[in-house]
Amino acid sequence: MLRLPPFRYHRPGTVEEAVSLLHEHGPDAMPIAGGTDLMPNMKHRLFTPAHVVSLNGIGAMRGIGVSGATLRIGALETLHDISTNPLVRGHFPGLATAAGQVAGPQLRNMGTIGGNVCLDTRCTYYNQTEFWRGALGYCLKKDGDICHVTRVGRKCVAAHSADTPPNLIALGASLTLTGPTDTREIDAADFFITDGIWNTRRASDEILTEMRIPLMGPVSNGRGGDRDNGRLRPNARGVHRRSAYRKLRQRNSIDFPLLSVAVVGDFEQDGTVAGLTGVVSALGARPRILAGWDEIALGERLGPESIEALAERARAQCRPLDNIIVDAEWRRAMVPVQVRRALEELAGGRDDEPQSRNG
């Protein structure tokens, strides 16, 4: 039995009220949506806010729809709804797949995409009961001053473990944050920082209200698409975008990723690559955008040789740590495997079909 620490529950009806409650109570207040991350963490005494501010009554933070040249997704949309929504599945199958692979069905019915983006980092030595953590003398991230992963490090290396952000980054999404004084937009790629203790640029009194994903924008080389009467169509040169997501985990359900790979590619009509982005996560505190892919892939077709070269390039820059209970060397060996599988899906996939549920 794990009891929650005492708190007061607030249920504001607007973003403004919610932000003002967060601002008023400062570090004593935290926002909650689905609660699937915060509630267990509070039961573990990782957070003990005196005030919990529910966002669930804020209608303006719901909805999925085309807005200009982007798909707008309200932060309160559940992961189940993201994974089954026809617009998301049609335009961003990698994102739909990722949302559909978060945890298990009940958690996807509760958890929201906003919460997934703001998910706390995770570590073997952090996501434990207070008794467990205390027995080990606590850790850098919470209540202690030693990192049990790196032993000597002064920087927390808890792992970014959310499934949707690597896809949002690869798709060039922007996030909208509302705080007490203003509303700002930030690229998903700039949202995360390499600090395992607080790994996002969201201030504690800011709320992530929505995200916008370009329907056919630049991937890595600035080439975009056109829209015709509000409907997405390939750009003038017939470039099509595809996306795929691979998640390594012990079981095909419930578990957080041991390694995750999101890939987004733009393909000319003849199958050559016009743009390719890969993002790998569940390594350190922020997702890693893979470097050096353009020189291998641009202007080439995705065949066995180029895919092998891309997978090897990925392996060379990913170094999993012992921050997740499964062996880091094995997770590293799985980097090229998962990257290869993601790219093979990208090469073989159609433009409008999500990948199968799992595998």
Binding site: M39, H44, P105, Q106, L107, M110
Partner: protein
């Protein structure tokens, strides 16, 4: 203590709870509905699964206030009076329960599935129950029972 009003299995109930109670604690310790089980108590195992507004959710990590004004169904509310729900009946006939601790949650996940999708495939059943851990049965008889219940409901 504060008073929370819940609609559980069709009944309007009020109970006094501390503000930091979960829905599961309110059901078990406020209303005496101990069918929903307190297993891992942190959202992993699925033993506390209940149906809120038609969707299977985990009551152990649902703040009780989020259930106010919603329709909550627990394992106690699946039967129609003394007549068991076909899923319950088929769990019995197929030997789908052993120790029984996970059963209330699995029944709720199964009923939420069948209410939405009356004739699920085996894979859809597996996917719908992927958030419920059972350490006894190995799942095969559970899937058999849900399939049989779907046949009965459809036929």
């Amino acid at each position: 203590m504060e008073v929370v009003r819940l609609r559980v299995n069709g009944d309007e109930r009020a109970c006094g709870v501390p503000a930091h109670y979960t829905l599961l604690e309110a059901l078990r310790y406020g209303l005496g509905l101990t069918g929903s089980k307190q297993g891992c108590d942190k959202g992993d195992c699925g033993a506390c699964t209940v149906i809120v507004d038609g969707r299977a959710v985990l009551s152990c990590i649902t703040p009780v206030w989020e259930a106010e004004g919603k329709d909550v169904r627990t394992v106690e509310g699946l039967a129609n009076g003394t007549e068991t729900h076909p899923v319950q009946d088929e769990f019995d006939l197929n030997g789908a329960a052993q120790c029984g601790f996970c059963t209330p949650g699995i029944l709720c996940s199964s009923v939420a599935l069948l209410d939405r999708n009356p004739s699920p495939t085996r894979d859809e059943i597996r996917a719908a129950l992927a958030g419920n851990l059972c350490r006894c049965t190995g799942y095969a008889k559970i899937y058999d029972a849900v399939e049989a219940a779907a046949d009965r409901l459809g036929g």
